[in-house]
């Protein structure tokens, strides 16, 4: 074989080349995004504050999209629709006829909510370990994070209702999933989170350490944010039939009949780079309102329809949607969001006044309820005071009418409220074979992750 001694003369050069290559570090960091691990393990004050604002970014996901919260829930509550059935027949077929499929639109509004809940869980851990923030600033962060987490959980239970929700969320994402809790346990958890948040906010000093953006103008200090927290607490209490709890919370909220009805907290949008736009704006060619909102509106003195119709709906070019067997046409357009920078309410004064009416009605305090209902009728609808029967049942119908028209196209309230009182079938079906759903199923992957699959929420939801 080769004379090794000759070869060995060149060995140092070769070894040198190998050593040179070997000591070169190959580590490359993520050049596009910061790591989650850094926030979890070595949080900084800036990182924590940015993650706090991130909760509002997460909260805004899928709210104002052609297949988002307002549109799909609005379809189930017969407020308005996406009629772009050329590109996706499910907008009519699944949302108006059904069944709601765990693998299709039926799975919506679960993953985004839990992603933001994960954001809040990570933030709460990071706050515990961060240096450079004062104890009161940390309390502010905790109160904020728990309030947003509670609001996300409320959104989850509002769509899943009797199917329940996952409330055990502080676990390893890749480990076993948390159990499915009942609706009652979920509401209890929401209340706990909101009440813990109150305690934190009360110890949070005079200012937050992070910006909340223009959507929280007037609610961006711990004290004023607490009023938003109580407003959410009142909404949760109403849907949980805790009417006296609702009244208590409302009294601590920003409910104010002397203030504008629009006072409240908003999702904000802009065309700025990296910001989100409102994609259900008036000019969106695919969005239409339910024409029966116009025809079923009560009339003002003089015969004109409810102001809430004339200010929120106009007639424009018609649109037709089809699911193959069912066709639906409308030429009504919402004017609530004139541009793609128009804000969307998270919760506002008008709802709180109606929630107070609803709580009083729930406590059979019909007279007190009618005070608030008439306030909204006259101030928001331009209608005369209520002149119908004053039985609890009749006033409930009147309350539902006012919630439907006051909170129209703002986030599925018709569906929540008519379902709450088992009155969905009193809404127009609009299409042949149209049906109403009382709850949405879990996404397929939520069911597949559990063995056996949960008894509720894992099969297609058939409507009434």
């Amino acid at each position: 074989m080769p004379p090794m001694t000759r070869i060995l003369r060149f060995a140092p050069a070769l070894l040198g080349a190998l050593a040179l290559a070997g000591c070169h570090s190959l580590d490359v960091a993520d050049l596009n995004n910061p790591g989650l691990e850094e926030l979890e393990k070595t949080p900084t004050a800036v990182g924590v504050n940015t993650a706090a604002t991130g909760l509002l970014v997460g909260l805004r996901v899928a709210v104002a999209e052609p297949n988002g919260w307002i549109t799909l829930l609005g379809a189930m509550g017969r407020e308005g629709f996406n009629l772009n059935t050329n590109s996706d027949p499910r907008y009519v077929k699944e949302m108006l006829v059904g069944p709601l499929d765990p693998g299709d639109f039926g799975s919506a509004f679960w993953a985004a909510a839990y992603a933001n809940i994960r954001n809040s869980v990570i933030l709460l851990h990071a706050v515990d370990g961060v240096a450079g923030l004062s104890p009161s600033e940390k309390e502010g962060l905790r109160g904020f994070a728990k309030t947003i987490q509670a609001l996300e959980l409320l959104n989850v239970v509002l769509t899943r209702d009797a199917n329940g929700a996952v409330i055990d969320v502080d676990r390893s994402p890749t480990g076993d999933p948390g159990a499915i809790a009942t609706k009652a346990d979920t509401y209890a958890r929401i209340n706990t989170l909101l009440d813990e948040a109150r305690t934190h906010l009360q110890a949070a000093g005079s200012a937050f350490s992070f910006p909340l953006g223009s959507g929280f103008t007037g609610f961006d200090t711990p004290a004023s944010f607490l009023k938003f927290n109580r407003a959410v607490r009142a909404r949760a209490a109403i849907y949980n039939n805790d009417f006296s709890g609702a009244l208590t919370a409302l009294s601590q909220s920003f409910l104010d009949t002397a203030a504008p009805l629009s006072t409240g907290v908003y999702h904000v949008f802009s065309t700025g780079s990296g910001d989100a736009t409102n994609n259900i704006l008036q000019g969106a060619p695919v969005i239409r309102a339910n024409p029966t909102l116009v025809t079923a509106a009560q009339l003002r003195v003089g015969g004109q329809p409810d102001l809430r119709v004339t200010t929120k709906i106009v007639t424009g070019d018609p649109g037709t949607g089809t699911s193959g067997t069912a066709t639906f046409t409308s030429d009504k357009h919402f004017t609530l969001y004139p541009t793609n920078s128009s804000p969307v309410a998270i919760i506002r004064n008008e709802e709180l006044i109606l929630l107070r009416a609803e709580a009083n009605l729930g406590l059979t305090n019909v007279t007190q309820a009618l005070v608030d209902i008439n306030f909204i009728r006259t101030n928001s609808g331009g209608l005369p005071v209520y002149a119908g029967a004053t039985t609890a049942a009749a006033v409930l119908d009147e309350l539902l009418y006012n919630k439907r028209y006051s909170l129209m196209w703002e986030g599925g309230f018709s569906w929540f409220d008519y379902r709450h009182y088992s009155k969905l079938t009193t809404l127009p079906r609009l299409v042949t074979g149209g049906s109403f759903f009382t709850k949405m199923p879990f996404p397929t992957n939520e069911c597949l992750a559990r063995s056996p699959a949960p008894t509720l929420g894992c099969s297609p939801e058939v409507g009434q």
């Binding site: 080349a17 040179l20 070169h24 570090s25 050049l31 970014v57 993953a111 990570i122 890749t174 992750a449």
Partner: protein, 984 residues
């Protein structure tokens, strides 16, 4: 952690040879073809044991000076001929050498390692080689198209017909589900980028939705397309892991080794080629013809009264929109010139190319300019240097085609535009509004710009030092530095007055993307050869460091009221940036032994790789290889001239994608200008590592009947394990998916390449080459539930990854014979063809040459959504039959639009005539050769049942699995060229 290393480069120069002796005799001679007697140009004549080397001129003549006076041996070699050793007696001063054609390239050296090679007759793998004589017969926009139909086992398919390329090269079937599908390209030692950077047309078309959409439907060009085919000397294709193992962790999809042309010592040569041609629409998909108003209304596709409005009381007019849109036939041209030559110490090759190929749609086309200088320099006997430099500029105007959700894509809009409406430009330059769709595609094509401009610089330097070259032992030390840098600028401008533009409320869109890519590699290799009694042992070892970075900046600007393209003119501006940086380090060692008088060849080797893409960037992954070949017959025996059996085994890797090891926080979002971070949907792989591809290949090669017939047959099986997969997480975890390694797939296949010379006389030759290949994949282990990938869901047909099934199966909805729905994941087809075959005929008679290449694919399926769109809009060329199809589909039968992908087409046809010398000299003063040729590419279909443009299609670009989805692509063209080649 960062370590700084100071590099001590031991510059080992010295050993420069002394001055050359001018003494000795002069020997002249001629090299000729032993059959035809014709002179062989550019044959190399070397005096063995010396550094004397010359090449022959146009008449085959050579002159050697300084030849020692005793008996010497000349080694005469020429491309395409068998080498010959000629004894030259003491005192002889002239010699005539006849060379035999090496029709089957048995003496060609084929790569077996990073710096080693072996003659084909000893090769243990079926490595395909395509030489310059088979390249450039006819111009193509991208290099890979030149290889179509020429390589057994290579499925080379275009993604659409858009100028500038977009071609997938798939070697021996699928290798991955989620990782990259591109082979590794090594050009003169440079690891060249084949990245495909989308144009961001998606920002207009909305083909993929969401805040951060995947831009795979932009019709992107994979950048190896930039290389100029005219400058390439040879392409070697290592198809599987057994041949490519020494390239390690990036070679799972095969390795394509390209060498560019270099100068030869001797006479200076000048070659000029001028081409003129044009492209034309190869096939129209057609539109429905309506007889009269009643027929329009009866179709049910239009609002009542439409018929009367457009057709009146007579016959409906028919406007051929397709012809208007894609009927452009503009003059294409290509000019190439090169000059080469040198001495035995310095050799050079310089070349320049300009080409301009207008597309068949207005405002589209492809231009390329390339300048190359390749330089070889020897310093004495021991040190040599080979430098390559190439500056490239390509510019593609690609229009907007493929899938679309916003009414932009030309053909998408045409599928929904009835033939009775007139969309042609008005006399005043405006275009009529298309009342049936969101846009008038003729207006869009006329006014919208989609430009891709690439400037690229590729350079390499290869230094070789031979410190030891004594007796039986030689040692070569090689250092290679490679650089590939390009900037790609994509500009898309959609003026505010386009019909679809006001729809988003922000008229006018300008999209600017600037990308820069840098690939660097530094290789060090040592090769020791020892020649013993009856054996040769070659030991090689080396190290390779590679680094690549890609930075993509995108600006989307909308609301360009003033119609100004500058992105700062918009009121809604969005910016995005994406960066990647990858570092790889590899070590290899290999031993090749040729023994039993070159009958038995045994090879063993190992490669070890570490990469910044792995979760542990410090961990080495090992890829072994072993190969053996034995020549059962090494000298003619009966009818058999040569017979070899061979077997090879090897492993390669496929890297994780950039970022898969990270769990990032999304930091690109904000709330009215206030930054906010949120989790992204995917958790990174904490143990992510390369996929592993293990291949075994066996085969035999033989030559029969006095070198008239050659057969190369191979069988291979590859097993890919540790697939990069995503596992779905319960969304209540806050995450959607987790990336991990798991699962296995297997591909088995056969390849046959055969050549026959049925006829060979002094004046005429007929040479036939054929390839056949077939492979089948199977997912053998899948640790996640069956999942779907690519495509648009089961209602339109989708790819499904399922244990025990083919990796490329297409599933979807289907109706049983009794009209009831079958399961929604019924298997409807498979993208993988049953087999591929090609037949190349080269006929030469005196000065005429005819080349015909037929490319045949049998079986496989395409999801034809272009046809679905036509049917859905009531616009099927076959009228009511389309209405029936769409009715069937609507009941739940995606199977309606799954079509056969079989085709047989004339890929290349070329007829050339070498002008007689005297005539050439008369016509073109001073030339030594002139050739005229006529050629056509993709001329006609011999057969295809496919109803769309072409079954070679991929809406989603290059994909490991999900090709063969047809959504209104840029229509493919056929091209014709007339060429003049002059040699001086």
């Amino acid at each position: 952690m960062r370590t700084k290393c100071w590099v001590l480069v031991p510059l080992a120069v010295g050993l420069l040879a002394g001055p050359a002796f001018a003494q000795g005799r002069t020997v002249t001679g001629t090299v000729r073809d032993s059959v035809t007697g014709g002179p062989i140009e550019a044959a190399r004549v070397a005096v063995q044991g010396t550094s004397i080397l010359v090449s022959t001129g146009a008449t085959g003549q050579f002159t050697l000076t300084g030849v020692a006076s005793g008996e010497v041996t000349l080694l005469v070699r020429a491309v395409g001929y068998r080498r010959r050793e000629v004894r030259l007696g003491a005192g002889a001063s002239s010699v005539n050498v006849g060379l035999e054609k090496d029709v089957f390239k048995m003496e060609e050296i084929v790569v077996t390692g990073q710096a080693t090679g072996i003659e084909r007759r000893n090769l243990a793998n079926a490595v395909a080689t395509v030489g310059s004589e088979d390249l450039g017969t006819h111009p193509t926009a991208s290099l890979e198209q030149q290889l179509q139909g020429k390589v057994a086992g290579a499925e080379i398919t275009t993604n659409g017909g858009a100028p500038g390329g977009g071609v997938q090269v798939r070697l021996r079937g699928v290798t991955s589900v989620n990782a990259t599908a591109e082979p590794l390209y090594v050009v003169d030692g440079v690891i060249m980028s084949d990245v495909a950077i989308p144009s961001n047309a998606n920002a207009l078309t909305g083909a993929a939705g969401g805040a951060n959409p995947s831009l795979t439907q932009d019709g992107q060009v994979n950048r190896i397309a930039d290389l100029n085919p005219a400058e390439i000397e040879s392409i070697e294709i290592l198809k599987g892991a057994s041949a490519a193992a020494i390239y390690g962790g990036r070679a799972s999809n095969g390795v394509v080794i390209i060498r560019t042309k270099r100068g030869l010592p001797g006479t200076t040569r000048v070659e000029i080629q001028q081409r003129f041609g044009f492209a034309s629409l190869r096939r129209e998909i057609g539109a429905r013809r309506f007889a009269d108003a009643a027929a329009v209304d009866a179709s049910g596709a239009f609002a009542p009264g439409t018929g009367a409005k457009y057709c009146g009381s007579g016959a409906c007019p028919f406007f051929n929109h397709e012809e208007e849109l894609a009927g452009q036939k503009k003059l294409a041209e290509e000019t190439t010139a090169n000059i080469s030559g040198g001495t035995d110490r310095t050799r050079y090759y310089a070349s320049g190319t300009y080409s301009n190929e207008p597309g068949i749609i207005t405002n589209t086309g492809f231009k390329r300019q390339s300048i190359r200088l390749n330089l070889d320099q020897r310093f004495g006997d021991r040190l040599s240097m080979a430098v390559t430099t190439n500056v490239l500029h390509t510019r593609a105007d690609r229009g907007v085609t493929n899938n679309d959700n916003n009414g932009v894509s030309y053909y998408y809009m045409l599928t929904g535009t009835p033939s009775f409406v007139d969309l042609r430009q008005n006399a005043d330059g405006t275009f009529p509004k298309n009342p049936f769709q969101a846009s008038n595609p003729l207006q869009t094509a006329n006014r919208l710009q989609n430009k891709e401009d690439v400037w690229r610089f590729v350079a390499s330097n290869r230094m070789q030092w031979t410190p030891l070259n004594a007796g039986r032992s030689s040692l070569r030390l090689i250092a290679i530095g490679g650089l590939d840098y390009f900037i790609q600028k994509n500009t898309i401008f959609s003026p505010p007055d386009l019909q679809f533009e006001p729809q988003d409320g922000l008229p006018g869109t300008s999209l600017l993307s600037n990308s820069d890519n840098l690939n660097l590699n530094l290789d060090g290799q040592a090769v020791h050869t020892y020649t013993g009694a009856g054996y040769t042992a070659t030991t090689s070892a080396g190290v390779q460091y590679a680094r690549r970075s890609l930075d993509i900046n995108r600006i989307e600007s909308r609301n360009l009221i003033a119609g100004q393209e500058n992105v700062s003119a918009g009121t809604a501006v969005r910016v995005r940036e994406n960066r990647t940086l990858v570092k790889n380090l590899g070590f290899f060692a290999q031993e090749e032994i040729l023994l039993m008088h070159e009958r038995l060849a045994v090879t063993g080797g190992i490669r070890a790789d570490q990469s910044s893409l792995d979760a542990d960037a410090r961990k080495l992954f090992y890829y072994p290889k072993a190969a053996v070949s034995y020549r059962l017959v090494s000298a003619p025996r009966g009818m058999i001239d040569e017979l070899k059996i061979r077997g090879a085994f090897g492993q390669t890797g496929n890297e994780p994608l950039y970022g898969q090891r990270f769990t990032p926080l999304n930091s690109t979002l904000n709330l009215g200008g206030i930054a906010g971070t949120v989790v992204l949907g995917t958790t990174g792989g904490t143990d992510i590592h390369p996929e592993r591809n293990q291949e075994v290949e066996v085969g035999f090669d033989g030559q029969l009947l006095k070198n008239r017939v050659s057969v190369e047959a191979s069988y291979f099986q590859k097993n890919v394990s540790d697939l990069l997969l995503t596992r779905n997480l319960p969304p209540s975890s806050g995450f959607a998916q987790e990336i991990f390694n798991g699962g296995k797939l297997r591909v088995r296949g056969v390849e046959v390449a055969g050549s026959v010379v049925p006829w060979q006389t002094k004046s005429a030759t007929w040479f036939v080459r054929t390839t056949f290949s077939k492979n089948h994949s199977k997912i053998t282990e899948l640790p996640v539930p069956t999942f779907q990938t690519g495509g648009f869901g089961t209602s339109l047909g989708v790819f499904q990854i399922e244990q025990g099934k083919s990796a490329t199966q297409i599933v979807g909805t289907h109706l049983l014979a009794n009209g009831t729905p079958a399961p929604s994941d019924t298997v409807l087809g498979d993208a993988n063809p049953e087999f591929r075959m090609s037949l190349a005929n080269d006929l030469s008679y005196k000065a005429f040459n005819l080349h015909v290449l037929i490319d045949w694919q049998q079986g496989g399926n395409v999801i034809n959504l272009t046809r679905l769109l036509q049917d859905a809009f009531g616009n099927a060329p076959d009228g009511a039959a389309g209405d029936t199809r769409i009715g069937t589909w609507a009941k739940g039968a995606a199977s309606t639009y799954i079509e056969s992908a079989s085709f047989m087409k004339f890929r290349e046809i070329a007829l050339s005539w070498d002008l007689p010398k005297r005539l050439a000299n008369t016509m073109f003063s001073g030339v030594r050769s002139a050739r005229l040729s006529l050629s056509a590419r993709n001329l006609i279909w011999l057969h295809t049942p496919y109803t769309g443009f072409d079954p070679e299609v991929s809406n989603f670009g290059n994909q490991p699995i999900a090709r063969n989805i047809d959504v209104t692509p840029y229509p493919p063209s056929r091209t014709f060229y007339f060429s003049i080649n002059l040699g001086m």
